[in-house]
Every structure is written in structure tokens, then in C-alpha cells.
Symmetry: C2
Subunit: 453 residues, 2 copies
């Protein structure tokens, strides 16, 4: 009854997996919002260090992880892979359920997997300061941690809703030396503009991105870092799945279904892309399912077209499943999933039917989270509960069909900073947030960006 499958420091992957090399249809190019012409890597130079831009557009299948990054990874990586015996018993399912647990990092989620290399490459290129946005606070914490290690100043724009829900995330970032603003803030032009239009806005990831990008774009020694969506972020996160494959082999199993929560795509990609490689290279047929909130259903109900990555329209146009870049999702506690669009790689994979998606209601996911906590001990972050809801649905299908399938999911972070969310759930304050068809249509109708046939 081995429960936990562990690797050692030496087993930290030496290379990230770049799925672009294997994709049957490569992602469409980003477009300049003015000319609508494809843009080259040089357009990203004001925001990112060159090494990350190279990774963003690389078609190499494997990209080497620098030793210094691997050494810092070893503060928490390799992360454990668990067999969820207790959860299986609670669900009374013939399915075998495994989870990869990314909550053992200093900031408590998978986000440092990319924060560390991003800070590292910025440091290599002499950058003094990095700005970023954060939704639930997980990405901001991770980047604060990484910047602190490399001696880089860090400025974080935190979605106002989360800033108010999760004050302790702010203190965590401060402990690692970062400056934190509630977003929209009065420290940027776009922030002031949005506050003037709606002083009571709860903010959104899209708005916070606009603020952080504006700050970096208008300061020479400052770069910007994004915690999801972009190709290089997904690339860095593949350490999760690469480790998980080895650990599943240790367990003597291989998943039939791989599940992860979906915000912009970083934790889903981290676990799923290396398993998709097995589909490509070894002819396997592993299903990969992205789990999103039904209040922000870009994968299940959005449109595949060009759109901005941020609310303010400062980024290049990206080919993505989107609800429209000014869509402001309901104020659910899973702040990390309140993003209007899906990253380019995942969008193309979904369009090509190489992955699947499911949406789950706000109440359903907290039920799933409490069930999991009572079975396995770990209290999951609200983002992670979305994946658990999909696991429950798949485990119930296995029971109906009498199949002992192997399910693996990404428990992308713990809920230690989300206790207010659980308190709200116990107090009956968590409510359903369905988006109407009319709302989605109206949001998409506002877009003036190119459609994709």
C-alpha cells in the first residue's frame, strides 16, 4: 500500500519539454494590434529578457534547465506523487486516483516552477526590477520568492478582490521583500482610467496585467513577468509532468485520464503536456482534461479568435479561446482562474481536439474540496478544487461503467491562504455564478479583433 512516490534532487528534470515541436498544427503567430501583421520576437524585447523570448518562439523539443535553476528547484522539487487511497474509498470508485502535489513549494503552489527561471534569466541580463500581476496571490508570491533569491526588486499588482480576500498573501510577498498594490491602482494610467469608469470594480487578472505591463514598458531597467498563458511559462511548468511520468512508472501505472485546473493554462500544461508527448511519441491515448469555473468558461463556451492578453489592450493579439478581453468574471474565490482567455498552445490543442475541457460550478468545487480535505488531509486551494470536481465526475463514470481506469490530477496548491473561502463555504455564502449566453455574446460582440476561420 505505498502511498507516496518520491524522487530525489538528482531526479529533477534536466530539460523542459517544448510541445510546439510535436504539435500537428503549430500555433498561429501573434499579431501587432495596429497593423495586424505577425510580430517577431523583437516586439517582446521591451517586456522580457532575450532568453525568455527565444524560449517563447523556440521549436526545439527539449530546452536545457540551467544548473542554478535546478539547484533552486531542489528547495521543493521533485514534488511528491500520491495514490489517493482514502479518496478512492470515499468515492467508492473502481478508479485508481493519483495526484501530483505542487503545494510543497515555499509559496505553496506550482508557480515557482516558472518564477525561478524567469527571475534567473532576468538576473543574467542585468535587470533590476520585475513587475507582475497576481490573481489569487500565488503567482505574485512565487515571483516575490524568486526575485528575493536573485536580488531583484519585485512589484506586484494584485487583483483587488484577492487583495481583500487574502491579506496574508500580501504579507507573504512582503516577507520576501516585494511591494504589493491592489489592482486597479492609482499608480498607473490604465489603473486610473479603470477606476474612473468604475470605482468599485473588483479588478481582474486582465486589468492587473495591463498595469504591470504599463509599468515595465515605461521603465528601462524594469521587465515584466507573466505567470501563465505564454509558451515559455508552460514550458517551465513541464517539470511537473516529466516528474509525474517517472513517478507513475514507479507506481507501476500509467494514467488513462490526466486532469488539471485551468486559468491561463500553466498548471494544466505543466502536468498534461508531457503526457501528450507520450500520445505523440508512443501512440498512447491518454485523455487530458482542463477544468475551468463555469463563471469563466473560455474553453467550454468561448470563441477561438485573436484577442488581447490583457484588459487594457496593450499586449500583442494572441490566437486563443476567449470570452473577450474586457470580460470581468464573477468574484469567485479561485482568483487564479478569473482570466478571460486561454494560452495559445492549449487553445490550439483544444481546437485540434487533442485535449478536453469541463466547467464546474462554484458550489460544486467547494463540496469537492472539502471532500478531498476530509479524505486526504490536504486542504486544496480553490483553484485546485476545480480539478478535483472533474476527478469526482470521472471516478463516478468509472463506477457506472465498472472500469478501473487510472486518473491522475494536479493538486496545484494548498489552501492555507484560502481559509476565508472555506469559511464562506461553511457559512453558506458561496453561490452559483452561471454566465448567460447573452453575456458571453455581448462580450464577444465588443471585440474588434480578427476572427479565425
Amino acid at each position: 500500500m505505498q502511498r507516496k512516490f518520491m524522487l530525489s534532487d538528482q531526479d529533477i528534470p534536466e530539460k523542459w519539454y517544448n510541445i510546439i515541436a510535436d504539435m500537428p498544427n503549430k500555433p498561429l503567430p501573434p499579431l501587432h494590434p495596429g497593423t495586424l501583421e505577425p510580430i517577431g520576437p523583437e516586439a517582446l524585447a521591451p517586456l522580457f529578457p532575450m532568453e525568455l523570448i527565444k524560449q517563447e518562439v523556440s521549436t526545439e523539443k527539449w530546452i536545457e534547465i540551467p544548473d542554478e535553476v535546478r539547484h533552486l528547484y531542489s528547495l521543493w522539487r521533485p514534488t511528491p506523487l500520491y495514490r489517493a487511497y482514502n479518496f478512492e474509498r470515499m468515492l467508492d470508485t473502481p478508479a485508481k486516483i493519483y495526484y501530483k502535489y505542487e503545494g510543497t513549494s515555499p509559496s505553496g503552489s506550482h508557480k515557482p516552477n516558472t518564477a525561478v527561471p524567469q527571475a534567473y534569466y532576468n538576473k543574467q541580463e542585468g535587470i533590476k526590477k520585475i513587475t507582475t500581476e497576481t490573481g489569487a496571490g500565488q503567482w505574485g508570491s512565487a515571483l516575490s520568492f524568486a526575485c528575493n533569491h536573485f536580488g531583484i526588486e519585485c512589484e506586484v499588482f494584485m487583483v483587488k478582490l484577492s487583495y481583500e480576500h487574502k491579506p496574508y498573501r500580501k504579507v507573504m510577498m512582503n516577507t520576501w521583500g516585494a511591494t504589493v498594490h491592489a489592482s486597479p491602482s492609482t499608480t498607473t494610467e490604465i489603473g486610473k482610467k479603470i477606476l474612473a469608469e468604475d470605482p468599485h470594480t473588483t479588478g481582474s487578472l486582465g486589468i492587473a496585467i495591463s498595469e504591470a505591463v504599463e509599468r515595465a514598458a515605461t521603465n528601462d531597467d524594469t521587465k515584466y513577468a507573466l505567470g501563465s498563458v505564454l509558451n515559455h511559462v508552460k514550458l517551465h511548468q513541464t517539470v511537473i509532468g516529466l516528474e509525474a511520468i517517472r513517478q507513475m512508472e514507479m507506481a507501476g501505472d500509467m494514467p488513462d485520464v490526466v486532469i488539471a485546473p485551468f486559468g491561463g493554462g500553466s498548471n494544466f500544461s505543466g502536468l498534461a503536456l508531457p503526457f501528450l508527448r507520450l500520445n505523440f511519441d508512443e501512440g498512447r491515448n491518454i485523455r487530458c482534461i482542463a477544468s475551468e469555473p463555469s463563471s469563466c468558461p473560455k474553453l467550454t463556451r468561448g470563441q477561438f479568435r485573436y484577442d488581447f492578453g490583457d484588459t487594457g489592450g496593450m499586449t500583442p493579439l494572441l490566437p486563443m479561446y476567449t470570452l473577450g478581453h474586457d470580460f470581468v468574471p464573477a468574484p469567485i474565490h479561485a482568483g487564479g482562474l478569473r482570466y478571460h482567455g486561454a494560452g495559445v498552445i492549449v487553445s490550439q490543442l483544444l481546437r485540434d481536439k487533442l485535449i478536453e475541457a469541463r466547467a464546474h460550478d462554484n458550489v460544486e468545487v467547494f463540496e469537492a474540496g472539502v471532500q478531498f480535505a476530509r479524505a486526504e488531509g490536504i486542504i486544496p486551494a480553490p483553484e485546485a478544487t476545480h480539478g478535483i470536481a472533474t476527478v469526482i465526475a470521472e471516478a463516478e463514470r468509472c463506477k457506472r461503467e465498472g472500469r478501473s481506469e487510472v486518473i491522475l490530477f494536479n493538486l496545484c496548491g494548498h489552501g492555507n491562504f484560502d481559509m476565508k473561502a472555506y469559511q464562506d463555504y461553511f457559512d453558506g455564502k458561496i453561490v452559483r455564478h452561471e454566465v448567460t449566453e447573452a453575456e458571453i455574446k455581448a462580450s464577444l460582440a465588443r471585440l474588434q479583433t480578427p476572427t479565425i476561420p
Copy 2:
């Protein structure tokens, strides 16, 4: 540059180490507070299940860990042992610093090491409900987690100061199904009495123990569980040190100095006692240092004599270093260290000069905690920062003396639920809390319990 030394599920110790078998001077017996006669195990029967009472008085050197306990341990055990390269560099010390990290448990500290077997033995004996106290919330969380697993009801009396400082700990306990009261509460006689005398008391561990003991003593199907102080608790915690010895061997080092924070003795004992065995059995000379707050300095400034384990005087009299059972420590954030006495085993070891003790000021420990967080990433619980302060002092001594000693400490928990404490520190609200000689004398003078020559 291996940073992390990991063991696998199979390496979880099969036996706990009972130091009583090896102690040159055995602990003096507990006394009945009325007759002052030594009491036998049967006196504990109203509060504890028989198996734990047997362990409490056992003189067997090794006690088997039940398979079901080892299997639940595997949710987080074996815990990692780290070489603190970054911290060494920050301190510019020739010392080699290692830490055993107990924060990977579901509740975030070492406490489940004993919560799990305690709940297990209660379950074996058909107990339906367990009551307990909690200071910082770590023990209450751990017992809630363990009781939830075994289907036992759990009622927690949480020191009022912590209840107010750490509301999220309460939600965590609720998530695992426990009931939580701020202590002193109006649900017990002793609670009502203390509130009548001082309605604004911040509470203390001693008071909370009295309430939990009263509830168990007055209900037939209810037992009580203690998270520190008692012999069986220290016994269960020895899994920490037993694992650490194997991990130090993997690292090719053996500590010269072993350090752990000290409240009642559970985390100190967990790490240190198995290393003391090496002193006994192999003639080694490993120094073991307990780190306590200077606001509650029972080891460094208390008296070795008989005293009650609780404020209300409901427990047997125990031979311990004490500040007096009605001593109410200053409201420091390290709630787990606000206890008037030291466990019996550790008290005897200190009296016999087999271990050492250090006290650290409240401001000094937060400085140490922030330093550590910035070096190693993990933000330590306020309790744990006390051990870190001792580590810094020893590392500085090594530097002065030019010695490359090996230091190992117990990072007994993370600070994810202690962000208010760090906020207070950044806001300059953490102040020194020295106890005067007169205060200690006055508290001890109130004791009517037997002295020990």
C-alpha cells in the same frame, strides 16, 4: 550540492524510541495532588485510553508503531531533511547547517506525529469524542485532522489570544469537522471561573488544558488528548529524529549540535531524543539545545519542582521545570511556547545536564525568521523562529571559533497561518517581553506544591 535528503514510505520508522529506558536517572513519579502519594497508571484512566497509559509509563526501549499509523504517517512522512546552503552563505559561517522540515504535514507542523497514534488508540478502545487544548492552533489542527480520519468527534479549546490572532486556524479545524471554542470559554466551570476573575484574559495553554480536561473528566464516552508535555507524546515524536539520523547518514554528516524550539517539549524531544540515544549507546557527544522565549523561560529561569500541568490544578503533580502553573506569559505570537512548565522527561534531562537551554527575545526571533525566509524560502512558524535564533547564535560562535561544526535544527512548522505575526513585525508592533526576577519569584512563591531537593 545535494540540498534535500529524502526517504520513502518504506523508511518510516517501525518503532518509536522510548528514552526512559536509557535515562541514567529515571523521572520521578507523578503525585496525587491531595495525598501527595505517587499515582499509578490507573489514575489516568478517566482521561486516556489504556494503550497510551501503558506507553506513558513504559520502560521498554522500543515501542512498535501500528501499521495503520504508519500508513497514515505516509501522507507526509518521511519528511525532508535539508542542507541550508543559502542560510549558511547569508550567515557567512563555516558551520554546516541542516534542518528537518516538519511543515509538510497536512496541518503544517510536527503535531500530527502524535495526533495520529492518539486518535488511533482512542478509536481502538471505542472512544467517540476527544477534547483538547491548542495554543497556536497547530495541535488543535493536527488532532482535528487525525480525529476526522478515524471518525472521532473532536472539540478544541483554543487559547483566546490565538483564536483572535489566527482565525484561519479555526476554519482549518472546522474543515476537518472539529468544534472550536475560544478559551477561557463559558462552556466549562473552570472557564467561567477564570472569566469571572478576569473577563479580559488572553488565556493560556494551562487554562485551555483545564477546560479540555474538565470536559473529558465529566463525560464517559469522551477522552482527552495532550499535544505535548507527556511521555507518550514525546515518544511518538521520536519519528522525527529517527528519520533525521538516517538522513544525516545519507548526507555523510552527523550533528555536533541539535536544536529545537521548546514549548512543552514535543518537538524538541522528537528531534533530540534519538540523538541522545547515540550519546548513550555509541558514546557520542552531541549537544542538544532547547530554545524557549525569554517571556516564558521555564528551562533557563524556572524551578525544578512538582507542579500542576494545567492552570486550574486538575492534573496530577509532575516533576518539572516550571514558572508556576498560574503564570500567564506575555501575549507573544508563538502561542505554542506559552506554557508554564516543561515535560517530565526533558526536565530530568536538563537537571542531569544531558541537554542545554537558551532563551530568545521576541524581536530577535522574528529577525531570525525573516532572515531564514529570505535565505531558504520557507517562512517559519513563530515557534520555529526560536530554534532559528539559537542556530544563528551557534553559527556565529562557529565563525568566531573558526570551527566547521554541523548544526541540525527542527523547522517544526511553516508560518502560513502566522502572517498576522509577520505583519505586526513589519509594522514595528513586535516588542520585547522580558520577565523580571520579581515576577518569577512571585509566581513560584504562590505554589503550594512539593519542592524537590
